[in-house]
Amino acid sequence: MGAQLRVYRQKIKSAQTTKKITRAMELISASRIGKAQARAAASSPYSDALTRAVGAVASHSSVDHVLTTEPETISRAAIVIFTSDRGLAGAFNSQVLRQAEELAELLRDEGKDVTWYLVGRKAVGYFSFRQRAFERSWVGGTDNPEFATAQEIAEELLADFGDEAAGGVGEIHLIFNHFVSRITQEPLVRRLLPLSIVEASADDSAEVYPLYEFEPDAETVLDALLPAYIESRIFNAMLDSSASKHAATQKAMKSATDNADKLIRDYTRLANNARQAEITQQISEIVGGADALSSSAQD
């Protein structure tokens, strides 16, 4: 076999192996999207109930809570970035990190110091490669978020939120990929704290809450509800991000499979060409040799 032909055959083989892997990853992600979406749907009764309850307390009492009061000046802000633990997901991680940089720029222009909280190995890698400091990170389990992790994050954030004089942060933002569809995932910025509770206004479309009896009283109820509400917001962000990750991986792996197909086709053509050229050359060599022999025999 000619050298050229062997090179092409090697390339075809390697593209075929890659294709097998990317195809498998595509199928795995496709099945995980469904699972991740089901988990997000399963957690919605909890967050709905909490949202309703918090709304009911807030609309029926003029309770001032430290988590809902807007400080007059904010000089420190925290950003929580939700990335994934693994790559191979197209622009999934880079778009959320880019969005985070933009937000940080904006906050710095407003005269705020930015501190970072990172979720997912990719964000940690991004920060440690650039040797930038971050407050705390959580890695592992972004494919299948646990509620316990959300609770841990909420606890940490609530502990750091508050008095700026004592080194606390004045506001907290979340950045995560939102699952729009299997094709589209977009980075979303949400301010977590201070909470902006939408007061039941004169707006007809707003839900009218019945006159609740609070036990023991509205302040205590709100005190207990708000941390749970924040946990559930963080958990939702994690679930949303994981569904988006699987969708992004599926899309990236689909195009990788398509590219491998194209490579295989192109290299097969080149290999055929090389094989044909080799055969042609061999024929002309034989014919040339036979001619030389017969002419020397006549002499």
Partner: protein, 86 residues
Amino acid sequence: MATLNVSVVAADHEVWSGDAEMVVARTVEGQIGILAGHEPMLAILAGGEVRITLPGGEKLTADADGGFLSVDGDMVQIVASQAQLV
């Protein structure tokens, strides 16, 4: 007799939902029993069990630690980050 529409909700899934005759829970203020037609209420649960009596008289017990209870019309929601039927 009117029944209550009860749902027990945990952070990552709905544990149980259905009709019930009575819900007994312990709030931070003390034990409370809820029948149909109860006034709207939001209460913090003091941990421990929530007992649900089904229309047939059968009893269910749910464990809802550190959650809250909301009553609105005949809708009762028992919400806790960790909840399960025992």
